[in-house]
């Protein structure tokens, strides 16, 4: 793998932190789109150019760079109010948690029994760090839209790991997975709208009607 791809992964890690630290949903959406596009370009850098790889790149860039941000902005635009709901742990707490998670991912990846030619790459630690950052966003954010962005980060992390395995994943499955992702975001976007309409807020911590009665 070229070292340029490794440098791009650093950018991906920085975007994780940016998303964890930003308080604006629009910034987060743009950042996740950029992350998706950067990741979409990665297969081109790693593998020799062939039709299969080109198609994957095209799909991923279109899906993560165009389609999903468009859906998310759509979901956001119909909610007129915008409120600042600080996440659990606060923004600074989130950033620190993300940084700690990244360090842990690097430490953990160094001990994994990877294939010899993957030992030196950033791919595995970056994948783990992005997955963890996604979990942090999912667990600490209270706005539904930010939770979706956390989910996307998680997906991106898994995608990074998948970069090691492009040969094993047939095009059909990759394309199908992307299609499912888009459909999922589409459905989530609709739900966010409905949440906004029903609760006059997209604060998911207000959703406590369903629980066991004592």
């Amino acid at each position: 793998m070229s070292s340029f791809a490794d440098q791009l992964l650093v950018l991906v890690l920085l975007i994780n932190i940016l998303i964890l630290g930003t308080h604006r949903a629009r910034v987060a959406i743009r950042a996740i789109a950029l992350q998706g596009v950067v990741l979409g370009m990665m297969p081109l850098l790693i593998h020799p150019v062939q039709g299969h790889i080109l198609l994957i790149t095209l799909f991923v860039v279109l899906a993560k760079g165009v389609c999903i941000p468009w859906l998310l902005f759509g979901a956001l635009s119909k909610i007129e109010f915008s409120e600042d709901l600080p996440p659990f742990l606060g923004y600074a707490g989130n950033v620190i948690a993300g940084a700690v998670a990244t360090v842990m991912a690097f430490a953990f990846a160094a001990r994994l029994p990877l294939a010899p030619h993957h030992q030196e790459l950033l791919t595995v630690p970056a994948a783990l760090a992005t997955i963890l950052a996604g979990f942090i966003a999912l667990a600490s954010r209270r706005k539904a839209i930010n939770q979706v962005i956390g989910y996307l980060m998680l997906e991106n992390g898994i995608f990074i790991f998948g970069l090691l395995l492009t040969e094993a994943m047939p095009l059909m499955v990759e394309a199908g997975a992307l299609l499912d992702l888009i459909a999922g975001i589409f459905v989530m976007g609709i739900i966010i709208n409905q949440i906004g309409r029903e609760f006059s807020s997209i604060d998911t911590s207000r959703m406590t009607a369903l629980r066991e009665e004592e």
Binding site: L165, V173, A177, D180, A183
Partner: protein, 479 residues
């Protein structure tokens, strides 16, 4: 192969037709037509001799056939039921519901037959997605909350399953083998795969598909989604999607069994299975909402699946029987529960009581479904649970067997405390009557499912017996 393609394409075509039909009244009739075609095709495939030309990607083995039979029968029941149910709820647009049900059927049929782990994942993910809008059928604050939880938790879970699949593929890379995600080659490689990556893959797939199945502690979305979804959607979720997650789990189990890592996987499965049983039993006692009660019952039975896989041996035969028993019994219970919910406009045992007087057929079905679900003879689940006990006590897990007995007993009592008032209690005087009354299409489908459960419980037809044995043998491979 052609037949299998048709199996997937027919529901998709049905969904398209449902989308094109403008009339809210006529549209639901698409589903029974699809269901009949699908069921006929499934029977034809199952009865037909196995194909000589096997495809690596798609190969309908005994497990897949059993699952297909179960799902197709359950969908048929739901389809006929839905005609009457949707007629009763004409005011709601049912286009999304009709489409979602059929897309889900297509995805589940695909899941039954694929042997490529990636494609299987795709099919399971599609079932999750297609059902999400259906949970939101009632369009109120409670159902939006349930849908959000369902969507987010299941999506994250299924994403983790994808990571598990990647780990599985990566283990082949580390071992220096050609990367592959096909079931048979992986089973062949299994002894040479590095144990660490294989364990990681198993754990992630267990968490991922476990979320989908609703194993504790990943079950939190389940009571909400089952409680707020309409009865027929609940039936598909509990009898179809949960079993579909189990199929995903079975595939990785097959690989792990072939690898010589059996003790680790079995211990993990036993642990999570018993935890699910415990959680379910704890929440079943004093459950006032009978639809949420059914959700916990589903958690309980998913726990039974995990325990059965963990026990191995004779329990595998039971697990395969349970695949049918759980699916069909859940169908009976949810459809009957949906009727009772409509009849009383409430799903709490405090206000919905005396179903036998208010809607006698539904009340009786609910009671019978409860008995079938909790493993009373003569229903099928009795045989499957019996085989779990035999396996536990004869294969050196007396503690598991004892726990199983206690927890199933508690679950039975807990469910009885909710079901009996709902069925036999005194109807509340002050509530005004809804316009609901039992009709043939509302009670016929669950009755049919119940009859199958009863008949098969007493007398298992020879072809079905062979099929169940063949499926169990597939799980025992390479031991």
């Amino acid at each position: 192969m052609v037949l299998f393609t048709l199996l997937v394409l027919i529901p998709v075509a049905g969904a398209l037709i449902a989308w094109l039909i403008p009339s809210n009244v006529k549209r639901p009739w698409v589903m029974p037509v699809t269901a009949c075609l699908h069921l006929a095709l499934v029977v034809a495939i199952v009865v037909a001799p196995p194909l000589q030309s096997r495809n690596e990607w798609i190969d309908l083995d005994a497990i897949g056939k059993l699952f297909l039979l179960e799902v197709s029968a359950l969908f048929a029941a739901c389809a006929f039921y839905s005609v009457s149910y949707l007629h009763y709820r004409r005011e709601r647009n049912n286009r999304v519901l009709c489409m979602g049900m059929q897309v889900c059927l297509a995805a589940m049929s695909l899941a039954a037959g694929v042997h490529h782990m990636g494609l299987l994942w795709l099919a399971i993910e599609t079932t999750t997605l297609s059902m999400a809008p259906l949970v939101y059928f009632n369009r109120n604050a409670r159902s939006i909350e349930a849908t959000w939880k369902y969507m987010l938790i299941c999506s994250v879970g299924i994403a983790l399953a994808l990571l598990g699949i990647f780990f599985l593929a990566y283990s082949t890379v580390v071992a220096g083998l050609p990367p592959s995600l096909l079931l048979e080659p992986l089973q062949g490689y299994a002894p040479r795969l590095p144990a660490g990556w294989l364990h990681a893959a198993f754990v992630f797939l267990l968490v991922g598909y476990g979320t989908k199945m609703g194993l504790a502690p990943l079950h939190t979305w389940k009571p909400d989604a089952y409680g707020e979804a309409p009865g027929l959607v609940g039936a598909m979720l509990a009898g179809g999607l949960a079993n579909c997650g189990f199929i995903g789990l079975i595939r990785i189990y097959q690989i792990c069994m072939a690898s010589g890592n059996a003790p680790f996987c079995r211990a993990a499965l036993l642990g999570i299975g018993l935890l699910s049983l415990f959680t379910a039993a704890a929440f079943l006692v004093h459950q006032t909402d009978f639809k949420r009660m059914l959700a916990y019952s589903s958690v309980e039975h998913m726990g039974l699946f995990a325990v059965a896989l963990g026990l191995g041996g004779k329990a595998l035969y039971g697990a395969m029987l349970h695949l049918i028993g759980n699916g069909l019994a859940k169908g009976v219970l949810f459809l009957a529960a949906g009727n009772i919910h409509r009849a009383f406009a409430s799903k709490s045992r405090d206000s919905a009581r005396g179903a036998l007087r208010r809607a006698p057929w539904s009340g009786a079905l609910f009671l019978a479904g409860f008995l079938a679900m909790t493993g009373s003879p003569p229903f099928l689940i009795f045989s499957s649970e019996y085989s779990f006990f035999v396996a536990a006590f004869t294969q050196g897990h007396p503690l598991v067997g004892g726990l199983l007995a206690v927890l199933l007993m508690v679950a039975f009592l807990g469910m009885a405390m909710t079901v009996l008032p709902v069925v036999f209690g005194e109807p509340p005087k002050n509530r005004e009557r809804t316009k609901y009354h039992d009709t043939a299409l509302l009670v016929g489908p669950p009755l049919a499912l119940l009859t199958i459960l009863g008949v098969v419980g007493v007398w298992l037809p020879q072809p079905l017996y062979r099929l169940v044995n063949a499926a169990a043998a597939l799980l025992e491979v390479a031991r």
